[in-house]
Symmetry: C2
Subunit: 164 residues, 2 copies
DNA sequence: ATCAATGCAAATAATTTGCAAAAAG
DNA sequence: CTTTTTGCAAATTATTTGCATTGAT
């Protein structure tokens, strides 16, 4: 059920290739900057902000600009390989794990903002039933739980805060 | 299970009073502007934006300013009577139905953005179990489903789009 | 009286966009 | 060669904030 803790490195099998196919289908061009950005995205399984993506991509190719990052992000979400997330902060987060786990959910610690991703067949099934009963057909789903992690419960506060 | 369709008017029993208690506890003052805003919030069960709230509140009291709306909104969310929602738009939405239904969920039509709210004991229970199993204690929960409503499925497009 | 709350207008900050130059196909 | 993509810097837009004034307690 839990999968967050099992992922050792970034497990994005062929995600880059899928994105290349996506570009090709739309007659979009494969530029050095797009490659740097996509390589960056699929070399981590952490969530990131536009600004972080800019920094990391520039380490691969210093010519990447903020504008290009902001122009590439919608392509990534449109391709379905990355998903935009909102954790109530002033900036958006992006999650590169949707290619591998299209229906995963998030639990976030209130204090340290540690995020654990998990999947649940039972919840998926219930979501489907309810959606159908309300006359809809289900397209996407997002479940976010806020809670108190073990450290927070134990010590009353977390050491490493994640912020951002 | 469904409750969205059952609500006739706004069903916010004593929500205003609760907010007054909240203000009192924090030694905050009851101003005409705050009253106009709160009355507005709890006279609807629709989701609204800051801008809409400003417009509506001004109909009750033209002296309400944008700044005061933006300063009051955090008080409303802090009190737990209203919840900030993100539907992937450029502005936030606020949901006044959390006082009456603290654990309700949303299903949104892809095309017309019609929103149906619903509750599910089974999902709540599963969320609790999973959260516990992952070492957290559950504080808040939000489940958002995107789907295709009957009209969209039937006609391929919805008449009234909601936008915003 | 005292201190919080207000409106206004200026500030902030994430994201978007126009445009001329550079690069992909 | 043609058309897309880029970087830059300026623009946009929701939200926040400083400050002098007003109003609640």
């Amino acid at each position: 059920m839990r999968y967050g803790a099992m992922v050792s490195g970034a497990g994005h099998n062929g995600a880059k290739e899928k994105f290349m196919v996506f570009l090709a289908r739309k007659h979009l061009r494969v530029t050095a900057q797009r490659q740097a950005i996509v390589d960056t995205v699929f070399s981590t399984d952490q969530h990131f902000t536009a600004e972080q993506l800019l920094d990391w991509s520039r380490q691969r190719d210093p010519s990447v600009s903020r504008a290009t990052v902001y122009r590439t992000l919608p392509l990534l979400t449109e391709s379905g390989l990355v998903r935009e997330m909102d954790f109530g902060k002033d900036h958006k987060f992006y999650d590169p794990n949707y290619a591998a786990h299209p229906n995963h959910n998030h639990i976030i610690c209130q204090d340290c903002e540690r995020i654990v991703e998990f999947e649940s067949d039972k919840i998926e099934q219930l979501e489907g039933e309810i959606t159908r009963r309300l006359g809809f057909s289900l397209q996407t789903q997002r479940l976010q739980i806020t809670g108190r992690c073990e450290e927070l419960k134990l010590r009353g506060a977390c050491q490493r805060k994640r912020g951002g």
